[in-house]
């Protein structure tokens, strides 16, 4: 008897992406985390197994033949309203018969959502459950909570929900990998996160005494470094210049998938690692104008090679790979004997996959090239680099004015303007008022709220003092590096072609200190363990200039002695870097670069609440108004 079941999934995260083949190769075994998540998903679905169709949770009525509906979504008010709407339309329509509804909250059910369901009068209709998915391994070294709205929620609305979830997730990591011996961090919310973790550990003794007693210091993770996004707002506003960063800037990578023109993607109809079946895009033909989702992850060897490179060198590399693949194909002529031919055939499978990936990336690189060749892009980049480098001329504000006059997209304008304001500790009063007026008159008066939001976050302010803190920070941490060799970079600044992201520089200060007290001057010496190290000692002055508190906590096991974690021979130490409030792809690349400088002595695993870029960050702060004419 087939009682059909449908699942509606909120787009917030697609946990069951069958794209995990690329995971599980570093010193930290991410596999165990993934298996946990996978097992639980099966449990969620098994209560009504045999899912026939998957829908994306959207506003508007849901029309389906299935009578059993399972919703899987974030505990967010808007989703509750969509679900309520579905149920209301079903109950109104007497023909449709009776449905059963199950709702699984990721990662947990909340009183807030239940209240909304109650208000909507559908609370009793739904069987509720939880799916405890928190950190999603996007890569071996990147774990994300994938809470897209964190930045706005945390900094503008000051709703600390994400800190709670982050603390929970980190506790779970500690449960799997052992206690982090040392927790360092910068920023007030970082401190709040650290405090919450320490408190949860105390309370865990309450939940499970045995577990907390047996919890050992982690074998390979020797530190957790928490960086609060509010410490470094400049970095995400800059245009990312790595390959992956530019893909994100132009196409926007969502949950490690990128949506591109089907014609672009058709070159790679079956990308290695398998396309997401959850989205059902597999079937989409390469019709013009149609969009197609393509996974971008380390399973694609070529992409893995390219992603962290400055875009300037990508073209050359693609060329080289193309030549190599061609040469490999040509080898078939040398295959004369049967075993030789067999060998070639075996190899060919790999070649085809590589070839396909090459086609995709060539197409993507071409698109990016078209974009980076435009005058607009280059002028924005020039202005941005001058601003960040502190080269003060009249040209920068003039260009921003010109952008407004040309009615360039508001997000682009605000990105530059905020950057200008942040770097100069505000904008001179007269200019400040001028820009505000220009924006309101050009983009609409609703942006009074947008400007208010930016003001509240300190991203767009009136200059009150001539003291330029950013300049001091820039100098003492050598954020600007003039000579950048994109081909053989020797500093993290290559990701922005000359600007080193402050956030990652702070991480570098911790892991590479004691070498020459001056990061940014290239690799040198092997770092000692962080657990017993000096943390940010020597950088107190700089840290004091940055907003928020600095902290350095040591976690001990019960015998009271902070033991340096015993390291298994040959295993690199691992630092967990948590970007609270989100991080960019360039920051990930820069952190990976730090690891490469450590000569196999240290690995980094990056955790973040979400992945963001300047556009998504600014856009979340822009006030949206309904289009009255569209609905009229």
């Amino acid at each position: 008897m087939s009682t059909s079941t449908a699942a509606a999934v909120a787009a917030a995260s697609s946990p069951a992406q069958p794209t995990g083949a690329h995971l599980g190769h570093t010193s930290l075994n991410i596999d165990s985390l993934r298996d946990l998540a996978r097992k639980e998903l099966v449990n969620v679905l098994d209560s009504d197994h045999g899912v026939e169709k998957i829908y994306h949770l959207q506003p508007g009525p849901l029309e389906t033949d299935c009578k059993n509906l399972i919703y899987i979504c974030r505990p967010q008010v808007n989703y509750m309203k969509y679900i309520a709407e579905h149920i209301h339309t079903h109950t109104k329509d007497s023909r449709s018969g009776s449905y059963t509804y199950s709702l699984f909250f990721v990662p947990r059910r909340t009183a807030l959502c239940e209240k909304v369901l109650e208000d909507e009068g559908v609370f009793g209709e739904i069987t509720k459950g939880e799916y405890h998915l928190d950190l999603i391994p996007l890569e071996d070294d990147v774990l994300s909570l994938e809470w897209d709205s964190t930045f706005k929620e945390l900094y503008l609305e000051q709703d600390t929900t994400s800190i709670y979830y982050a603390a929970k997730a980190l506790m779970r990591l500690q449960g799997i990998y052992g206690l982090f011996p040392r927790i360092l961090g910068k920023g007030d919310y970082s401190k709040a996160l650290c405090d919450m973790m320490l408190r949860m550990r105390r309370e865990m003794a309450v939940d499970d005494l045995d577990a907390s007693q047996t919890m050992q210091l982690s074998q390979n993770i020797d530190s957790l470094i928490i960086i609060d996004r509010s410490v470094d707002m400049v970095t995400p506003l800059c245009t990312q210049l790595t390959y992956e960063g530019l893909i994100d800037e132009i196409f926007h990578i969502k949950n490690s998938f990128v949506e591109v023109d089907a014609s672009l993607a058709s070159a790679a109809s079956a990308p290695p690692g398998g396309a997401g079946s959850g989205s059902g895009t597999q079937t989409a033909a390469a019709a013009p104008g149609k969009k197609k989702k393509v996974p971008l992850n380390g399973g694609d060897k070529l992409f893995d090679e390219l992603r962290d490179l400055n875009f300037a060198v990508v073209g050359g590399l693609l060329n080289k790979v193309a030549k190599r693949i061609n040469a490999d194909y040509e080898e078939r002529h040398n295959a004369k004997t049967v075993p030789q031919i067999r060998q070639f055939i075996v190899k060919m499978g790999g070649l085809a996959a590589e070839h396909q990936s090459l086609r995709l990336h060539t197409a993507l690189a071409e698109e990016i090239m078209n974009y980076t060749m435009t005058d607009d892009f280059n002028r924005i980049l020039e202005v941005q680099q001058n601003v960040v480098a502190g080269i003060a001329t009249n040209k920068e504000p003039e260009y921003i004015e010109e952008m407004i006059n040309k009615q360039a997209p508001l997000v682009q304008v605000l990105r530059l303007l905020c950057l200008y304001s942040l770097v100069n500790s505000g904008i001179k009063p007269k200019q400040f008022e001028f820009f505000k007026r220009e924006i309101l008159e050009t983009y609409g008066f609703e942006h009074i709220q947008t400007l208010e939001n930016l003001h509240r976050l300190g991203m767009l302010t009136k200059q009150m003092t001539t003291k330029n803190t950013y300049g001091l920070v820039r100098r003492s941490l050598s954020l600007i590096v003039d000579e950048v060799n994109e081909h053989a970079p020797n500093d993290i600044s290559y990701v922005y072609s000359g600007y080193a992201p402050l956030s990652v520089r702070l991480v570098q200060c911790v892991v590479q200190r004691g070498k020459d007290n001056k990061p940014g001057s290239g690799p040198s010496g092997k770092g000692s363990g962080i657990a017993g190290g000096n943390g940010w000692k020597g950088f107190e002055d700089v840290l004091r200039m940055l907003p928020g508190r600095t902290f350095d906590e040591t976690q001990r096991v019960d015998d009271g002695q902070p033991r340096p974690s015993k390291r298994m021979n040959g295993q690199p130490r691992v630092s967990l870097v948590f970007f609270l409030g989100g991080c960019t792809f360039t920051e990930i690349s820069a952190t990976r670069f730090l690891a490469s400088q450590e000569g196999g002595q240290r690995d980094f695993v990056i955790c973040t609440t979400q992945i963001l870029n300047g556009n998504t960050l600014v856009d979340s702060l822009v006030q949206k108004v309904p289009d009255l004419h569209a609905s009229a």
């Binding site: 018969g97 709670y164 008159e441 050009t442 008066f445 609703e446």
Partner: protein
Amino acid sequence: MSPPTADWIQLHDRFYRKQEIYTMLWKQVDLSKYMIAAAPFGGPLALVRDDRKVLLLQKQQPIKPSIYLYTSSGKLMETISWDKGHIVGMGWTETEQLLCVLEDGTVRMYNILGEYTQFSLGKEAKDNRVIDVQFWGTGLVALTGSFQLIAITNFDEPRPLFLADPNINEPPHSWTVIPPKFTLSRHVEVLIAHNSTILVVDATEARDERLQQGPFSKMSISPDGKYLALFTSDGKLWVVSTDFQKNLSEFATRSQVPPQQLVWCGTDSVVLYWDKIVLMVGPYGDWIKYTYDDAIFLVPEIDGVRVISSDKCEFLQKVPDATENIFKIGSTAPAAMLYDALDHFEKKSPKADENIRSIRLELSDAVEACIEAAGHEISHQYQRSLLKAASFGKSFLEIHNADSFVEMCKILRVLNAVRYYEIGIPMTYTQYQRLSPEALIDRLISRHQYLLAIRICEYLKMRTDRILIHWACSKIKKSNDDEDTICRMVVEKLANKPGLSYSEIAMTAHKAGQSKLATMLLDYEPRAGDQVPLLMSMQEDELALVKAIESGDTDLVYHVILHLKRKLQLGDFFRIINNKPLACNLLESYCKQQDPELLKDFYYQDDRRVDSANLTLMESFRQKDSTERINKIKAALRLYQDDKEHTFEAKAIEDSIKLLQAQVQLEKDYSQPFSGLSISSTVYKLITINQSNRASKIRGDFKMPDKRFWWIKLRALVEIRDWDGVATLAKSKKSPIGYEPFVEECVKAMQFREAAKYILKCDAHLRAGLFLKIEAYQEAGEQAFLQKDLDTLREIRDKCPNAVIQGQIDGYISQLASSR
């Protein structure tokens, strides 16, 4: 000691045994007079007088019926006096709660101590009465007088669910349910014997299996849900797979009367019970008959059948393979040899050594087999001798992992303890494995066997918290001591358990009306978050909110906020919230999504004018009617004007009103939509509809800077391809934005000829590049030469497709190079 095979009976190729477990503690219970429900896994029995049967009124018996709860050993645990109506059916849940379903659709759920909760099956059940009910571990299905089926699938959140209408108009001959975990759809299915066929009913449809063998007067599902045993009216026992695809066996009983009970014994034989006669039928048509002196009751288990009679409790099961291998007469299985060897060893016979030698290679397996067989024994004696044999065999092995031996010893100790007649849980090893030790502990807790539960937990190294908390709660409920004494007593007992959670205990005290005790106990609760629910029910509103904030769990904060909002007057509500920033922020973000009116009140009472103003302003954007819209904006304006810090915004809002009024006029004049556009866009649009004068007027009204106006005009003119207009603009006066934009906009529109007109007006050093853009190589070359710009010249040469011009540029290059 009787041989272990004494009670074995062969049924075709396998053996069955019926062992006595208990002599019943109860006296003279005539089981035929009762309606009985028994819980599986050696669980308790519930007896209530069957009011359809005549009973001789006896002196000592009260008129009002009672439900008696007995252990499997016949020990009375609880008497529940029954004052409600006719009980249609009784059943047990997985967690050993007794369900009583009444005629009117009320369902009462009792724990073993007689405390109950109740819920209803809904109106249909009430109106048409419930006539029968079937249970499984986590749910039930009721059949109503109008032959509708109502299912409950979850007792924690009981929600009556109608199954499809089976469309019958007479009571079924018999019916049963297949629990959700055994069906393909994972939803409950009901089998109904109707006429000569069976209907399979689930939530969506009723399907006729189109059988002819009926009518079926009894049916029963096997413990693994795979097979169905049916008893036909002509006395045949028929076993089929539950999908009706496979015919397994048929057996003629020659009885016209249907059996009183038809149950499965494990998964391979079926037991039928007629008055005082038990007939067990195997899969190959072999049978065994037992007779009794009194009425009995059969309790199906996953691995056998418990037979309850007025004087004993017996267990009928297929002899487990391991046991059979060892004890079967003439068995030469290695384990049998090992067992035998021990016997010889004890008799000091050299045959012991011979035996061991003969099974040398399989000795390890033999040891494991003895361990397993020990697990299946009820008799302590055989448990001991089998374990001894295993241990004996072990000593001949060089490497042997003793874990399974140790584990089995532990399990047997636990099983023997709970099987003790005072406890009365005759659980088998197989059942224990299926149920898990945690569930067993829960059962002991619910029977208030705290000491045994704690001992078992300590023995198995499990957490004892649950037991202690449960103990404390029941202590509080029962005790008559004063609050201080109870508190001291509880805390003393729980003191050396540092992690124990006190909130549940405190909650119990609160519910029992001992608020002082609750407060005292709550102080011991180490987790802030866990204190919150109790504090809320104790009306400690503010403290609850403080604790929730302390916990960092924002949802808990919401929980309290929403509770307070429902409970308090608005003023009091805000007073509690106001000085707590996190609570304020959360309230704000909740209101934005769900309750904008509350947000207005909140801003107003806290005097947050800018926020109020912005909120009002944003509302204005949702107003379709422009008068309404202007009114809203004006309200926002008033709020802004109150604040001297925000003169800029006040001015901007004034402008926005002015703009909207102007747009209303424009819409009238040109019958095109304007409202919603910004000032710049309005001007732009006016130019594109050839209303330049109007555009200039708007520009003047809002004092638009020259630069912006020029840009807008230029772009708008290019969009409508008014090249003359562009030229006029360029000539009208000296351009405040220079002439480069003119060139660039034309280039973007692919109008190279137009673009060329403006290049010479641009700065000299830009000209070469601009010419290059419009592919005017010659001009580009000339300009670059004039600027002495070698790099650009080379670039032009590379791009230039025309050989003549290339030559010319080469000339320039050599000239410049030589002059260097």
